[in-house]
Every structure is written in C-alpha cells, then in structure tokens.
C-alpha cells in the first residue's frame, strides 16, 4: 500500500512536470505543424535564467519565497525574447517547407542554444533551492515529501485549464481553431495568420520556459540537462496525440506513473518503458490516444 502511494505520488509529480514542459510543444504542433526540438532550449533558458535570478536575489538577502516572484519573470522574458527571435529569423522562412526539414532546423537551433547557454552562464551549476526550501515538507504515505513538487501538480492543472479555456471559450481560441483546420480559409477570412502563428509560438515558448523556470529550484541547473527532456516530451506528446492538450495530459500521466513504477519495482526498465509505450501507441494508434479532430486537406 505504501509502495502504491509512493508510486502514484512520484508518478504524478513527474507527470505534472512533463505536462508543463510538453503542453507548449503540442500546442505549437497543433497549430503550426512544427515539431519543435528547440522547445528544449526554451526549457533550458527558462531554468537557467530563473536559477540565476533566484541565486542573485537570495545572495542580496531577499527571503526564500521571493523566488516565486522571479519564476514568472524568467518565464516571460525567455518566452518572449527567444520565441520572437526564432520565429522571425528562422521559422517564418520555413512555413512552406517539409515538416521533417523544419524539425531539423529546430535541431540546429537547439544545438546553437546549448553552446550559447554555456557562453552566457558558464559551466558552474546553479542551485536555486530557496523556493523549494521555503515550502518545506509533509509526511504522506509513510514518507516525507517536499511541498514544492506537489505545487507542480497544481500548476499543471492551472495550465491545463487555462489552455483549454483559452482555446475553446475565447474569441481568440476560435480564430485559432479556424487556422488549425484550414490555414487558407483563415487567410481568406482576412485573419492575420502570421500574427496568430507568432502568438501561438510565443505562448508555446513561455510554457516551455515555465517548465524550466519552475523545475529549476529542484535540480542542479548545469550544462546539457535539456537533452533528455526533449525526447521525454516527444514521447508524451506522441502518446497523447500530437496537437492534443488532453492527450498531453494523459501522455504525461502515463509516462510519469510508468517511470515511477519502473524505478520502484524494476529500475532497469526505467527508460525502456517510456519509449516502448511510445512505440506501441504509434503502432496501434498512430495519431495518438487523443488525436485532435482531423480536418486537414490533402
């Protein structure tokens, strides 16, 4: 019983983290049909900037909880600056190209970003534990857990609800659905599709940066830590169905819980299960478990 609770809680907190990181990826794919490898760069920059700011301000004597104000700052700054640069300089020139070629271009961007991070932030790891320390721990299911990781789940829920509401209940969301279903009709209706693309890309980037900025306090932010996140979020997005928000949620929960089960019961399978499930889902339901309604023209 204790074990089951532990697996569930570990799985859920990892799933929440995965969801926040992946949901931006899936939104961008859903609207723009771009599978963005550089999403890992938003994550990494978000984490670095947030960790940098938190350590900076706590060295200046600000209290531990102050970090919670810095996380959104890092999210917005990274999300806005990086996404606008990338969209305007690179992606804008590629919208007519093959999907896979765009993946490759974003891979190039990711590689560039990895070394830029190193040049800007240096090789020393950052430890921005202060916000995590501010919340302390509780005992649950016989073992102690940190409250911060649980707030991740709350944040994931907020993000999920906000995305769903934004896409289905607002005028903006409806315009976006038009573009998702048929870009040309959108253009014919006089929509500024370029603007919508940019907006979506900025939102996706901010979500990626938020994932990094929020997880930063719990890890050692050091060079190269964004590499594994990319494939994991690919797995999440593919399992749920590329472009589907509820899909990303289910995908994240599946990957999170399966991984936690593996760690507790059969550690050798930790990575294997994640990608085996990804492959099986692609084989059985190529569009993912929650494929978004398809209305693409041939």
């Amino acid at each position: 019983m204790q074990l089951a609770i532990a697996i569930l809680l570990d799985g859920l907190s990892f799933a929440s983290y995965l969801f926040i990181v992946s949901v931006g990826l899936t939104i961008v794919f859903g609207v723009m049909k771009i599978l963005n490898v550089a999403h890992g760069s938003f994550y990494a920059w978000g984490a670095y900037l947030s960790a940098y700011l938190i350590t900076l301000f706590s060295d200046m004597g600000y209290p531990n909880w102050f970090g919670f104000l810095l996380i959104p700052v890092a999210t917005v700054v990274v999300g806005l600056v990086l996404s606008v640069i990338i969209e305007r300089l690179v992606l804008r020139r590629m919208y007519h190209q093959d999907e896979v070629l765009i993946v490759l271009a974003t891979f190039g961007l990711f590689l560039i970003s990895e070394d830029l991070l190193l040049l800007v932030f240096g090789v020393n790891p950052y430890f921005a534990y202060q916000p995590m320390a501010a919340l302390g721990n509780v005992r649950l299911g016989g073992i102690s857990r940190d409250v911060y990781s649980m707030t991740l789940s709350a944040l994931a829920l907020i993000v999920a609800v906000a995305c769903w509401w934004g896409l289905t209940r607002t005028r903006w969301g409806k315009l976006i659905s038009v573009v998702i279903h048929d870009r040309e009709i959108g253009l014919a209706m006089g929509l500024n599709v370029g603007m919508i693309y940019l907006a979506i890309f900025v939102i996706g980037a901010m979500l990626g940066a938020l994932g990094g900025a929020y997880i930063a306090p719990t890890i050692s932010v050091s060079p190269g830590f964004g590499i594994d996140v990319i494939v994991l979020s690919f797995a999440v997005v593919v399992i749920g169905g590329m472009g589907s928000i509820p899909g990303a949620l289910i995908g994240a929960v599946m990957v999170g819980v399966l991984r936690a089960m593996a760690v507790h019961l059969m550690p050798e399978l930790e990575l294997f299960v994640v990608f085996a499930v990804m492959a099986i889902v692609l084989i059985v339901r190529p569009e993912g478990l929650f494929a978004p309604a398809k209305a693409r023209t041939i």
Binding site: Q2, L3, A6, I7, L9, D10, G11, S13, F14, L118, G122, V123, N124, P125, F127, Y129, M132, A133, L135, G136, N137, G142, I143, S144, R145, D146, Y148, S149, I215, T218, I219, S220, S222, P223, G224, F225, D228, R259, A260, V263, H264, P267, E270, L271
Partner: protein
C-alpha cells in the same frame, strides 16, 4: 575569466623566463626545452563545474609553479624542460574520447597525456594509449579494472581505485556508525558507481557481517538530475544507511532534493566521494554526513594540516582561484607533480632529457609525497597508486562560516588495498589477508 587570463599571463611569463634561462645556458645538452602535455578534463557538460574546472585549476597551478621553479623544495622544470599544456575536453562520451585521444597523439603530437576523471573515459582510452605507445597518466578514474583486466605498459594512475575507497568506507562505517544494521545505496549506473557499490557491499560482508545489504539499491543513469522517485524508494527501504558514490552535479542535485524532503532526518548518508558538494553547497549541506575526498585532501585535512606541500597548495590555490581546492584539484596537481618527479629521476639517470622509455622507467614504482600526502606506485607492476583514504562527518563551522569535518580517520594504504598480483574481488572475498590496519 580573469583567473584564466591571469593563468595565461603567468604561463607566458614562466615560459619566457624558461626560454631565457635555457638560452643563457648556451643550450648545453638541452635537446628539449619544452614538453607538450595534453591535460584532459571536463570543460563542458554537467561535470565541468564541480570536477573538471577544479581539476584543470589544480593542474594549471602545479604546472605554472614547476615551470617557474616555485614549488617549495623542488627544482625548476620537468626533467629540465618546460611543460606546455594543451587542454582538452572530456565530455561527449567514450567514443569521442577515443577519437580525441588519437588526435591529441597523432595530430597534435603531444609527448604525454595527463587526465581523465570518469572511469568510462579512462577504460576507453587506455587500450588506445597502449596501441599508440604513448605515456598516459590517469588522474582520477576509480574503477579497479583499469589495471586488473590486463597489464599496461604506458598507462599510470596516480589515484587509488574504488576498492580502497570502498573498504575504507566499510571500516569507517563499522567503527563510527556501530548501530547501523542495514544499508542500501544509490550509485550511478556505470563502471565507477557499480564498482563502488559492489566493493562496499563485499567489504561490509567481511568486516561488518551483522549489517545487511538491501535487495533494492538504486542505479540511476549518470547526469540524470532528478531523483524524486529514487528518494521515495530509498525512504521506503528499511535500511538506515544509504551509500552513494555520486559525484559531479548529481550529488548536489540529490542532496538538495533529499534535504527538502527531510531525508537526512530519517537516514544516515555516506557520500564517499562527495566533497565537491560540501564546498559548493556550504551551509546548506547537512551535518553528520559521512564524507570522503579519496585521499589526504580537501575538507578532511584543510583545518589542521601541517604538511608543507599541502599548506602551500591550499594557500596558492585559494589566492589564485578564490576557493578551496577540492578532491579533483589535488588529484590533477598530484598527477602533474608525479610526472615531474619521474622525469627528473629519468633525466638524472640518462644524463640529458630522457626518452619515453626512460621516462616510464623513472615513473615506475615511484613513491612520493605530494599535495595530498604519500603515494606509492605499488600495484599493476608499479603503474597503479595506493595511498591512505579517510572519512569524516560533515559539520558546518559557524564561526568561520565554512564547511568542516569531524571524527576524521584515515586508513593506511596497506590496509585497504590488495597485495600486488591479486585481484581485488578475490582478496576481499578471502577476508583481506595480510591487510595492515591499525
């Protein structure tokens, strides 16, 4: 950045003065004024900050001191020559290291290679060193397999293997944590992590048979960074003691994540090579953690050392880099020092600058005192070092505002290493016959 520029300036000055000195001597018999040595360490990737850069600093400090004749009690130069370092990156996987090793030797024509932190890289490059017949001094790299799998003619290692660390840890746990009745572990899933756990468990079975090993030790992938589920598993385990050979950024990440969860209130923790984290986390690092530095170095000896080389190293390092040297700093400095001593000996015997074969003769079986105490090249046919290994408990020194260690105890090299010619695993299994412990 400033430290690096400063280092460069010092190096250039040292080089210039060495060249000037050689010129004023009329170039007598000086067939070789400089030797080009590759220094390999992590310059990128997650191990660069906590291990690679301190290691590079240690090497750089030692090289500049010897080139300039500033190492207390020592002559100037390496067998009379000035050392010209080429720094290379250890990150990127073993296959890359093999390709890079070939480039260093065959393209950049270095005279020797000094370096390698990870057991992965040293195991991968050692066969190539033998193939290319190039003198290679391994600085850290913990796995005993390096010299047990096959004899090496061109490879030396100035750091004791994980066997000594693990046996010493078992002794220390038995002596200072007598109430421990069961233990588990979290180690990285590669040669060093696997060996550390294997030998710790094996030594515990011999020394402290009443303590039982857990059936579910954890082996996460190196550099994975997030240990939420692993910490839960360890918490659910009944074992009181958790053994870990985590190093690089992983140890810091683990300690921070575990700390917030109150892990250290419930469990005792043995970070056998975790000293870099004690310094980088400072007051945040929990007290009462078993901590090791793999030799007479770092936090264990910092407060009350009187050894002149040791004192010099700490002072010079702190002045130049603004921080205390950590384990890797000592280990890299020691390897460079070892190269100097061997070359000096070989040069004296040869009456001029030695050939590589003469260098290897000079290095083989050398016993010497360095920045971390006494080291003897006693195993692997004179190619593998043994030295004392000790542990202590962390205790933050509030008055000085810096970390410190209490209950420090060192175990003699002969107590924790197998005799020459015997496999470590076999030796421990037989109950460590002939071990000289106090």
């Amino acid at each position: 950045m400033t430290a690096r520029t400063l280092g460069k300036a010092i190096r250039t000055a040292a080089l210039a003065s060495a060249v000037a000195a050689a010129a004023s001597m009329g170039g007598a018999a000086a067939a070789k004024n400089t030797i080009k040595v590759a220094i390999v360490t992590f310059l990128t990737g997650p191990a660069a900050g906590p291990f690679g850069v301190p290691g590079k600093n240690g090497a750089e400090l030692m090289i500049d001191a010897i080139n300039a004749g500033g190492l207390p009690g020592h002559s100037k130069g390496f067998g009379g020559a000035t050392l010209d370092p080429v720094f290379a990156d250890e990150a990127g996987g073993n296959s890359k290291q093999v390709a890079e090793y070939r480039n260093l030797v065959e393209k950049q024509n270095v005279d020797a290679v000094v370096g390698y932190i990870s057991s992965g890289s040293c195991m991968a490059t050692a066969p190539v060193a033998e193939e290319l017949k190039k003198l290679t001094i391994v600085t850290i790299c913990g796995t005993p397999s390096l010299f047990e799998d096959e004899p090496r003619s061109y490879v030396f290692r100035t750091q004791g293997s994980a066997v000594g660390d693990s046996i010493a840890a078992a002794h220390y746990v038995t002596q200072f944590m007598p109430d421990v009745t069961s233990y588990t572990g979290i180690n990285q899933n590669y040669a060093f992590g696997q060996d550390s756990w294997k030998f710790f468990k094996q030594a515990m079975e011999q020394i402290n048979p009443k303590a039982k090993a857990s059936s579910n030790p954890q082996f996460p992938k190196i550099f994975s960074g997030q240990y939420g589920a692993e910490i839960s598993t360890l918490s659910l385990d009944r074992a009181e003691l958790v053994h870990s050979s985590f190093w690089d950024g992983d140890i810091e990440a683990f300690v921070l994540q575990a700390l917030v969860r109150g892990f250290f209130d419930d469990k005792r923790f043995a970070a056998v090579v975790g000293d870099s984290a004690v310094d980088s986390l400072g007051a945040k690092f929990p007290d009462g953690v078993l901590i090791g530095t793999r030799s007479r170095s770092g936090i264990l000896i910092r407060r009350d050392t009187t050894d002149p080389l040791n004192v010099w190293f700490i002072k010079a390092y702190k002045e130049r880099y603004g921080a205390y040297p950590v384990g890797p700093s000592y280990q890299y400095a020691k390897a460079v020092h070892f190269l100097k001593l061997g070359l000096d000996k070989a040069a004296a015997a040869a009456g001029g600058f030695p050939t590589q074969a003469q260098m290897i003769e000079g290095l083989k079986g050398l016993s010497f005192n360095s920045v971390d105490g006494k080291t003897a090249m006693a195993l692997g046919g004179g190619h593998q070092a043994i030295h004392d290994v000790g542990y202590g408990f962390t205790e933050f020194d509030k008055e000085k505002g810096e970390p410190a260690a209490t209950n420090v105890k060192f175990y003699a090299a002969e107590c924790i290493n197998p005799p020459e010619g015997m496999l470590a695993e076999e030796w421990v299994d037989k109950g460590m016959p002939g071990a000289k412990c106090d």
